[in-house]
């Protein structure tokens, strides 16, 4: 949760204790619900049965500070008691350790409204479920600095992950990494063919390491680009949800995908012909020093993604006023179109945006 937001929202409910966090641009939300069974003793409400259950939020840093060193905690702590004292405005976390040592941490909290992202996994068109370890092995191929990744299911049903390259980055300078996963590596696949979704890798990695550590399968639910993607982990005593906003593309998904479809090849085979002959001819005959091509950058109207909608009753917490809620910061919502091939000077005419750079390999 600390990888998502700076504040930890605690919400005791009848069903258990819910810990939640949201990031500053409101494009990522996560909740961990611990069922009463998880605890030795769980009392949601106060002495009077009808009082509204108390919610609060604390600074993530303070809360984490209590549980700072996991190995030493495991060795010394026998019991951990978490207690809300509204009258004193304190959240008490008490660690009862060996040798009758008791460490009591009093954290200040702030009252808050209910933090809830509205999502319904049942309504999502596509879903996948995979063992966490398999997904962890998959994302290891992408650099840690990578912001966004696109999960794609091609028309044939093959599933792939690819790093997302922003449109204003020059395609001729950016390395593209793509990974194909076989259907049988997943526990369940119910995905719409020819669908894709682009989300932020950083927050996903956080959930993934938790899932790996607890050895739980991860379920992915997504819909159309722009609609949030939901990742869930399910256990008898724990339910985890991570909701991320996704990039939308202006091209409707009913259209055949553009050059992305061409560049997503099935596993490369050995027989192909390179297209470099014509390219070299172009280079020799034209006056270009280097192989620089500026693909015509498509300008599509900006689209905002649909953020995880907040609970209508919730008062929007005061975040940065100007930002559109749920917009991942500094993103332009352009299509995943990559632009085309040679500059107008060469033998090939400058393609329009609709013309696909035909794959000379003939594999697709």
């Amino acid at each position: 949760l600390s990888r998502i937001g700076d504040e930890l929202y605690l919400e005791p409910t009848e069903n258990g204790l819910s810990l939640r966090a949201i990031n500053s641009s409101r494009s990522a939300f996560a909740s961990f619900l611990f069922a009463p069974l998880f605890f030795q003793r769980y009392e949601a409400g106060g002495p009077q049965p009808d009082t509204e259950l108390f919610r609060c939020k604390v600074l993530m840093k303070s809360f984490l500070g209590v549980f700072r060193s996991l190995p030493s905690l495991e060795k010394t702590v026998e019991k951990c008691l978490i207690l809300l004292k509204p009258q004193l405005s304190r959240l008490v976390v008490q660690l009862q350790c060996k040798y009758s040592v008791t460490k009591t941490h009093n954290l200040t909290f702030q009252e808050c409204e209910r933090l809830q992202a509205v999502f319904d996994t049942q309504q999502c068109a596509s879903s996948l479920r995979a063992p966490a370890q398999m997904l962890a092995e998959a994302v290891v191929h992408f650099p840690l600095t990578l912001a966004e990744v696109t999960l794609r299911v091609d028309p044939g049903g093959k599933i792939s992950l690819r790093n997302y390259v922003e449109d204003d980055a020059e395609p001729s300078k950016t390395m593209v990494t793509e990974l194909w996963l076989a259907k049988d590596e997943f526990e369940a696949v119910a995905a719409v063919p020819d669908s894709h979704i682009t989300f932020c890798l950083k927050e996903f990695r956080g959930l993934l390491s938790f899932a790996e550590a607890s050895n739980l399968p991860l379920s992915i639910y997504y819909d159309a680009p722009g609609r949030p993607v939901v990742f869930t982990l399910d256990d008898t005593v724990l339910e985890v949800n991570l909701v991320l906003a996704t990039l939308s593309d202006p091209e409707s998904t009913s259209q055949r995908p553009t050059s992305n479809g061409v560049s997503h090849l099935p596993a490369p085979s050995d027989d192909f012909t390179d297209d470099l002959e014509s390219y070299m001819i172009a280079m020799e005959t034209s006056a270009y020093e280097e192989s620089s091509r500026d693909p015509p950058t498509p300008t599509f109207p900006l689209c905002t993604p649909n953020p995880p909608d907040s609970d209508p009753e919730e008062e929007e917490e005061e975040e940065e006023g100007g930002a559109v809620p749920g917009t991942p910061p500094h993103k332009k919502f352009r299509s995943l179109f990559f632009g085309s091939v040679l500059t107008p000077g060469g033998p090939n005419p400058a393609p329009t945006q609709e013309v696909l750079a035909e794959d000379s390999d003939g594999e697709y």
Binding site: P143, A182, S263, E277, M280
Partner: protein, 283 residues
């Protein structure tokens, strides 16, 4: 113009990755020259690089199980590409236990070196990761810029001390100054010297040994030289540190040639890779 290569043997793959990692540490962008029998990583000593030059040569047969190359034309059966070695290094990083790694030159949206890594997986089919590394194709008329640099007319040639030792010394000296003085003589002595206003630190190495070079005209240029006289050059310490830090394996032979006040030419030889690195003297 085509290029296709495949590595299946894990040891070769790891060895190749190590070479690429070393190159990546030395140059942000460099030229890859492919011939039928060899690969070359070249950094030409342009002012933009700070005058540093690099020439790394590999025998393709020692690394690749399959290697097919067709150059630009029959009489010029070579390919020159410009690439960012860090990209290649990253692509190979997670291929540690791959079943096979294939490389090929493609031109879909732009010329790319496509590295396809086939990884073992629990399912029936292997997992395939592809990395499309954008490359620049260098036209034939510019090939002259990338000729192999000739061995300079050096004053002293000497074997280097154990690289690990040299590296840790240079790293510490880096904190003191931006330039380091290398001096060596034909008696197998070398000094590394750093000087600031407050302090002067010198490390002395002895008994390093001097390689003998047979020149084309059959005589050794340094025969008349007094063995005690030091040839010296002051170079940018960061470049030296980069070179030493990039070495992941101990070379079979490591030596340097010093042209007094002009340039230091480092030669690091492994079984199947040779690396030459030129660091100009600071004016």
């Amino acid at each position: 113009m085509r290029f296709r290569a495949k590595i299946v043997d894990l040891a070769c793959l790891n060895h190749f990755s190590r070479v690429i990692n070393t190159i990546a540490k030395l140059a942000r962008i460099c030229t890859l020259r492919l011939t039928v029998s060899k690969l070359y990583f070249i950094l030409s000593d342009k002012v933009a690089n700070g005058g540093v030059g690099m020439w790394c040569e590999l025998n393709q047969g020692n690394f690749f199980d399959e290697f097919q190359m067709e150059g630009v034309a029959a009489e010029h059966n070579e390919i020159y590409l410009e690439l960012v070695p860090e990209n290649l290094s990253r692509a190979l990083k997670t291929a540690q236990n791959a079943k096979a790694v294939k490389m090929k030159l493609t031109n879909k949206h732009c010329p790319c070196l496509r590295v396809a890594v086939e990884l073992p997986s629990l399912s029936s089919s292997s997992r395939i990761v592809t990395h499309d590394i954008p490359v620049g194709v260098i036209p034939r008329r510019l090939w002259n810029d990338f000729k192999e640099p000739s061995v300079p007319d050096f004053d002293v040639s000497i074997y280097l001390p154990v690289l690990k030792t040299m590296k840790s010394i240079v790293e510490r000296m880096k904190n003191l100054s931006n330039s380091i003085m290398i001096e060596a003589n034909l008696n197998g002595e070398m000094n590394l010297k750093v000087e600031t206003d407050l302090v002067c630190v010198t490390t002395h190495f002895k008994d390093l040994g001097n390689p003998s070079w047979a020149l084309e005209d059959g005589c050794q240029s340094s025969q008349d030289r007094d063995p005690e006289t030091m040839a010296e050059a002051r170079i940018d310490i960061r470049k030296l540190q980069q070179l030493l830090a990039g070495q992941q394996v101990n070379p079979t032979k490591a030596l340097c040639n010093i042209v007094s006040k002009r340039i230091v030419h480092f030669i690091l030889l492994h079984e199947d890779v040779s690396l030459q690195y030129f660091i100009p003297a600071l004016t």
